[in-house]
Symmetry: C2
Subunit: 262 residues, 2 copies
DNA sequence: GTATGATTCAAACGCTCGTTTGAAATTCCC
DNA sequence: GGGAATTTCAAACGAGCGTTTGAATCATAC
């Protein structure tokens, strides 16, 4: 067909990477099941059998797609957290810094719109950057329910989750461990939803909201939201608290009112 | 095979409902793609062709599964909201009541563990209640990216979203419309993640957290979290507020840049 | 009882999928 | 330059999918 890779580019793009790049695109676009190896290898301009030759199976390919990007991403998260802790000299970190260290690398990667890895996209170039594509894929993976996918992500995430949980525990000593686990769960949900970009309920009229918003502005919006949630008054304590009836002014400088609970 | 439905039960369970019930189970368990009509009709104890006879196609079946439950669910949401507004006599509602009106019906439905609809589950009875099953399915649908699914949900949700958005706008007048749209987006993300029950990153050690937790206690935890987020200090305004300790480096002083909105 | 319409059934159709195969092409190394 | 290893290729395999078909069965009204 349109395979012109007889004459290799100056920078020879090997088959493995072409497959990985095409897989990122198509998995993000159609999901893991619906993206067929035939469509995928056509997009990459390689032979159908190449996937099984290089990755053993489709499942192996999926694993490789994640390993290629998730490891550096999580390493960056840990780096940022370590830098914060170094700067804090043993003191607790501000929760917003922790959130930023976790979410920032993802958002920054989602801004990465350089052409894929090593001059890859030979076929029709989709313009979208490799990072951006992977982040969409990652969001999808977060809400995936297949056992294999869960295990794959869990393995990659285990250290990151441990470290960030510890940091948050120190940053929010007034929040009991169980409560904090739940709040991290809510936090992860909000984040996943955002990076997945698949708001099934497009908020109707305000649909345009998400369109063409810059990642930095997303960060500016989500961090206060999550920090407020993480530091919210504890549920079991007293009244329903928060901005309850006397609502309006989101001010709530009663911040450390949440003294309750050990 | 094990099909004994020659002798109908006293309460005749018609084929349509048996299919819908089995579809709920298997779609929730394996997803829409992976759950085949063959497995589904076997579970229901009906003939393979019955799906196409009664629902036209697999897509028609999916649509029917949602319509059967989503319409009543959203009607209940609107009812609760209307009751709140009646009680408030024109005044703004407390945000936590609005959250509860939106999330409550879902959580309550997830507690519904009565046997399916009309004595349905003839095959091996899975014990799980029909409501519970559907909610898991709904959570999955929320993170689904297929165009048809998005449109289906959007159609069912459009009125609910409009009404709740209006209520929140009135309850939180200090939050600009665009900011509120984003915060609703985050809110929906946290909710979807919870009801989907597919936390890919199981928070490792605290994995047991989500296990066997009662819905009411989930509600008690998530409502303060979300209300705090919805009423958080605005990002462009003044300090990062919240529980921010003081210190740390990353201070960005460009604060009130961005004077946007209405 | 018999005609009529609705429903169920076993079987097959056409298609796409992931994977395998064995030969051809290419690359590598001496 | 030649032999071995690696990589690519066209083709096919076998399985599973959603759907269709046409006859058998059932329910209902005369």
């Amino acid at each position: 067909m349109k395979t012109a890779p007889k004459t290799r580019d100056i920078v020879n793009v090997n088959t493995r990477e072409r497959i990985l790049n095409a897989a990122e695109v198509l998995f993000a676009e159609h999901g893991f099941e619906r993206a067929s190896l035939r469509a995928l290898t056509a997009e990459a301009g390689v032979n159908l059998a190449a996937v099984n030759y290089h990755f053993g199976s489709k499942a192996g390919l999926i694993r490789a797609v994640f390993e290629r990007r998730l490891a550096p991403l999580n390493a960056e998260r840990l780096n940022e957290l370590a830098a914060l802790e170094r700067a804090a000299r043993g003191g607790p970190l501000p929760p917003e810094r922790i959130i930023e260290a976790f979410f920032g690398p993802v958002l920054r990667m989602s801004m990465d719109r350089r052409p894929a890895a090593r001059g890859g996209s030979t076929q029709r170039d989709r313009g979208a950057g490799s990072g951006h594509r992977f982040i969409r894929l990652l969001g999808r993976a977060h809400t995936e329910s297949r056992q294999a996918m869960r295990e794959l992500l869990e393995a990659e995430y285990v250290e990151v989750v441990e470290r960030f949980k510890a940091a948050l525990t120190r940053a929010l000593p007034q929040v009991p461990e169980k409560e904090l686990a739940w709040r991290m769960h809510f936090t992860l949900g909000a984040m996943s939803y955002v990076i997945a970009g698949t708001d099934a309920v497009q908020l109707s009229a305000s649909y345009e909201v998400r369109q063409s918003e810059h990642p930095e502005s997303v960060m500016k919006r989500i961090v206060p939201f999550l920090v407020a949630g993480l530091t919210a008054p504890l549920p079991e304590a007293g009244e329903r608290g928060a901005g309850a009836n006397a609502p309006a002014n989101g001010r709530r400088d009663d911040r450390n009112a949440e003294r309750k609970a050990a």
